[in-house]
């Protein structure tokens, strides 16, 4: 077995200097990532009622997981999370891609337009949430006032205090906030599409649509996958906008996993239950992380 790979320990010893260089970073990661994950998983097996100190927690095995899966609010929050994540990702990507295509062409004021479109991305999520909350306000919001003034509606539109419209209203804010991210990613991807290929296709008589569909899109497959995965992960973890704008309300209509977890941990002081919930979210995220890494490392083995 002359070609057999050396064992892990032998490889570490052989490259000990390399490992020594990355050791501090690994140590920090262990402290700030691995330990909290371990502690969350550990805590998820305990009942932590609000009248007990954390040291007095009661071991209940998988009780928290059973309880979460049986909660009506979990099923409601799961559906809301699905709607929130899928639609936020879809619209942010489509809008971002559209903006990237527009900005990829030469036109007067392109730099200015690029700067303007980036504004939502650089505004603080907290500030943006408060601004949108006032724009949407059901009694004296600007959008409602305009819709009444131009005769579009008889009364101001009830964006945030309606169980029917609240989720769509929040998704609009989220898409507005994160489409520039998709735009930047796709713009970077567009700039890697070989110009000579596009010109050759043009010479061969391919129209704009055919050039886009058969040359541009295949070249963007990798960056599209990465962008969509990053948007999905960001939206699953998105907390600021829904929490500040509605706190998960009204009547739980905009409650998503992450706000529900926060509410359980800090509103209801159920750290055990919230930890179990977080572990479920963590598993879902790990699944996505797997596909993300696969997308990033595709072709590395060749």
């Amino acid at each position: 077995m002359a070609n057999a790979r050396p064992g892990l320990l032998r490889r570490i010893v052989r490259h000990r200097a390399d490992y020594l260089y990355v050791a501090p970073a690994l140590l920090v990661m262990l402290l700030v990532i691995a330990y909290p994950i371990y502690d969350t998983i550990y805590l998820s097996f305990f009942n932590t009622p609000p009248n007990l100190a954390l040291e007095d927690k009661i071991f209940i095995g998988l009780g928290n997981y059973q309880r979460i899966l049986g909660m009506d609010s979990f099923h409601e929050a799961t559906w809301n999370t699905f709607v929130w994540t899928v639609f936020s990702t879809l619209f942010a990507f489509v809008l971002g891609f559209g903006a990237a295509l527009a900005l990829n062409r030469e036109f007067v004021g392109r730099g200015l337009m690029r700067g303007i479109l980036l504004i939502p991305y650089v505004i603080s999520a907290v500030a943006a949430s408060y601004i949108w909350r006032w724009l949407y306000h059901s009694d004296f919001g600007v959008i409602g006032a305009i819709s009444v003034a131009i005769g579009l509606t008889e009364n101001p539109i009830n964006f945030l205090d309606s169980t029917d419209f609240v989720m769509a209203s929040l998704i609009v804010v989220n898409v507005w906030k994160e489409f520039p991210f998709a735009m930047i990613m796709m713009l970077a991807g567009l700039q890697t599409v070989p110009d000579q290929l596009l010109r050759a296709a043009q010479v061969d008589g391919a129209g704009p649509w055919h050039r886009f569909w058969h040359i541009t899109v295949p070249h963007l497959k990798g960056v599209t996958l990465v962008t969509v995965l990053l948007l999905l992960v960001a939206n699953l973890n998105s907390f600021t906008i829904p929490w500040i704008m509605t706190g998960g309300g009204p009547a739980g209509a905009s409650e998503i996993w992450i706000t529900h977890i926060y509410q359980l941990a800090f509103g209801r002081i159920r750290f055990g239950l919230a930890s179990a919930y977080s572990v479920i979210l963590f598993i879902v995220m790990m699944g996505m992380g797997y596909f993300y890494v696969r997308a990033l490392t595709k072709g590395d083995a060749k």
Binding site: N47, P49, P50, N51, L52, A53, L54, R133, H137, S138, D139, F140, P156, N158, L160, D161, S162, T163, M245, T246, G247, G248, G249, P250, A251, G252, A253, Q263, F266, G267, R268, I269
Partner: protein, 492 residues
């Protein structure tokens, strides 16, 4: 006499709620060093005793901790914010200057937090062993920290005061399993505020507020129908203290309760959130929001702060709030310009205060306020300086500063404060103060349980939202809330 000023405290009302216990307790204190006879608690009596006693704060503090004591203190509190009247900011600054003068060698590191985020931050800090030495917490929060063993046993005796210097209802809120874990700083009750001009426009008697909650519902509808303006400033946001402070008086008035906290001797074991009285209160809210559409649509996301703008703009007729609301409105009027200024000035001139309406069972208001607590040394960041903490709490809860710190929004936690010259000055300068103060005998404290914050800030507002959004019927919303409270208590 103004109809709302007349509040003869009869025997029946004295025995009606926990506030009556407070009066009975304070009455026993008659002849003690407080010199306050709370058995005759009327606006006239409150005015008559104000300014009849002199206090020397530094001398009182010196008996607890020498004034030259050298130490350090970390302190978190719910301080004045953008919605607070200017005078609260000024008094806050005066307080810190006076403490620095009294105890020049105690270094203070203070943190003023927002009410709606302070509890979460304090919980996280306590778990991370980064709690402050002293925190001034709303009456609802202390029992959770006491139950978890995070607070140091600490009561009035530790700062040189007798129990008879505080309302028994307030002392109850700092007591957990027979031990005291805090000293009351201030106690408050709210009142009903209305815009007399909007009442007049709606064809109502501008000087006569609704006497009952049923009347309030009818007034709200009449105002909306005749003027197009919102009648009552309902608040139903989840995770906001403003919601239970406005809804629980209504719930108690109809004979309901979260538990049996409105009874003479509450056990906190009987669930009353789905009682007929509680359902009647919930139905009244549903009638205003869904049937009559006479309250702001944004009630589900509003806190009381969001009621201030429409009120000063003459777009809202009634709301429940502190005496400080008058000062807040004066401030807002001063900042307005042009036509807005004229409207705001007119609203301030037409602002009236009255008692919160009665229900079929009682007149009720939340017995609110704050307490000063000292955290256990093992969870305090940088260690606990007990002497500095004692000096600070003695200074803060004495008759002078418990009166001054409660200048526009509350009442002194230390009953002796009612006899001070500062109380007299308050009564002379703050309009309607005697009305809110006279609501104290109708005050009902929230249940003294570690789960109280969850019940009041989450379960009760969720019940309201479930009914107001038609997600559930009134019966189903109340029953769902009852089940949540039952599960919560069973979790112990």
């Amino acid at each position: 006499m103004h109809p709302n000023h007349a509040l003869p405290v009869n025997r029946r009302s004295l025995l009606a709620g926990v506030a009556s216990l407070a009066i009975a307790g304070a009455a026993r204190a008659q002849g003690s060093k407080t010199g306050v006879d709370a058995a005759t608690w009327t606006p006239e009596y409150i005015t008559s005793i104000a300014g009849t006693a002199e206090y020397d704060t530094a001398a009182e503090c010196a008996k607890v901790v020498p004034l030259d004591y050298r130490g350090r203190l970390t302190y978190w509190y719910w301080g004045p914010n953008q919605a607070s009247p200017q005078i609260e900011h000024e008094i806050d600054a005066q307080f810190w200057a006076a403490f620095a003068k009294t105890y020049p060698n105690i270094q203070v590191s203070k943190l003023s937090l927002d009410y709606n985020t302070m509890l979460d931050k304090l919980r996280a800090a306590s778990l991370g062993k980064a709690a402050p030495m002293v925190a001034r917490l709303p009456i609802l929060w202390g029992s959770e920290f006491a139950a978890k063993g995070m607070l140091m046993p600490f009561g009035p005796a530790d700062v040189g005061f007798g129990d008879d210097e505080f309302w028994p209802g307030a002392l109850k809120s700092v007591t957990w399993k027979g031990k005291k874990y805090g000293v009351p700083t201030n106690n408050e009750t709210m009142a009903l505020i209305w815009n007399a001009d909007l009442f007049k426009q709606a064809g109502l008697d501008p000087e006569k507020p609704p006497a009952t909650w049923d009347e309030l519902v009818a007034y709200s509808k009449q105002i909306k129908d005749r003027t197009g303006k919102n009648g009552y400033g309902m608040v139903a946001r989840v995770n906001a203290g403003n919601t239970p402070f406005r809804f629980m008086p209504q719930l108690w008035a109809y004979g309901g309760g979260a538990l049996d906290e409105a009874e003479d001797n509450p056990t906190y074991k009987t669930i009353k959130i789905n009682s007929p009285g509680a359902k009647a209160a919930l139905q009244a809210s549903v009638d205003m929001y869904i049937r009559d559409k006479s309250v702001p649509v944004s009630a589900l996301t509003n806190t009381q702060t969001e009621n201030q703008d429409p009120f000063i703009a003459g777009q809202l007729a009634m709301m429940i709030s502190h005496p400080s609301e008058y000062a807040a409105m004066l401030d807002r009027a001063k900042k307005a310009t042009g036509d807005d200024r004229k409207i705001a000035d007119a609203v301030v001139a037409n602002m009236r205060y009255g008692l919160i309406p009665k229900g079929s069972a009682r007149r009720a208001v939340v017995f609110g306020g704050s307490n000063a607590h000292v955290f256990n040394a093992d969870i305090v960041e940088g260690g606990l300086d007990v002497k500095a903490a004692r000096a600070f709490v003695a200074f803060m809860t004495g008759p002078e500063w418990s009166t001054k710190m409660a200048w526009v929004s509350s009442n002194p936690g230390n009953i002796r404060g009612f006899r001070s010259k500062w109380m007299k000055e308050r009564l002379d300068t703050i309009k309607f103060l005697n009305i809110t103060t006279s609501m104290l005998p109708n005050g009902i404290p929230f249940p003294v349980l570690p789960q109280s914050a969850e019940i009041m800030n989450i379960i009760v507002p969720n019940m309201l939202q479930n009914a107001l959004t038609k997600k559930m019927t009134v019966d189903a919303a109340a029953d769902a809330a009852a089940k949540q409270i039952k599960d919560l208590l069973a979790d112990l």
